[in-house]
Amino acid sequence: MTNILLFDEINNVPATNKVSEKKLPGDLAMWIFIVMELTVFAIFFIAFAVTQRIQTEMFIEGRATLSASTGLFCTLALIISSYFVALAVEAVRKGNNVAASRRLMLAMFSATVYLALKLNEYTTLLELGYDISTNTFYTLYFFITGFHFMHVLLGMIILAYMGLKARKESYIPTDCNGFEAGASYWHMVDLVWIIVFFLIYIIH
């Protein structure tokens, strides 16, 4: 790779495909932000697992009040949302801003299903008398899922902004770093939920 770069500099020719293939999607700042976010979530996940290990009975009882089907449909909603975002990136790279905008709309619709399911779950738990101060399980449950919920909201704002820009034909195939960065953030939100689902709804 170094040889290829030197050759390009000396001959003043455009970078080869081999070099461009190794490009990080989006921009570096977003990836540093993503790694920081993932680290914060990792600390919460380990805290949840260690507390479950110490207070096993409490966590078994707490998990029994959650609906695995709600977790399942939340997961499917975010996976499908991420799928449409990935398709939107492909559309932008082909110069089809209109298709990208439509796909982002579908992604946001799918994410709205997740939001509705989570809000319904929170409401049900609160009506049953479980809140963030009930015990350690609910403290960690509401904290982790609530923190993730806020990330989904922020992600949807970013997707909406990207959708509006795409509708104005603002992205061009050779300059869509901003679009890729927003999409990467959304995939990070999906990645975190995959582990949240595993940790809070599946493991027992």
Partner: protein, 85 residues
């Protein structure tokens, strides 16, 4: 249809199937080490699909790809070890 699109289509099917299978396994009340390993493995594979296909890090520099992949491998494993061991 480009190669990327094929990968994304294939990846979303894998993600949905793994989610359904791991949920069924977890709800089956069969509590064995094999089930625990399969469910944990499904999370690792789902993470790999998101990192490599959706985030497209299979086309990025190896250090970034492996940074994210190590997260999707290590975190579910550490969580499973803490809880199941």
């Amino acid at each position: 249809m480009s190669r990327l699109l094929n990968n994304v289509h294939f990846s979303v099917i894998i993600l949905i199937l793994l989610t359904l299978v791991s949920t069924l396994l977890a709800q089956s009340n069969i509590q064995t080490n094999v089930v625990a390993i399969l469910v944990t493995l499904s999370v690792v594979i789902k993470g790999q699909q998101i990192v490599d296909i959706f985030m497209e890090l299979n086309r990025a520099q190896a250090k970034w790809r492996w940074l994210l992949l190590s997260y999707t491998i290590l975190i579910p494993l550490v969580l499973a070890i803490i809880i199941y061991s």
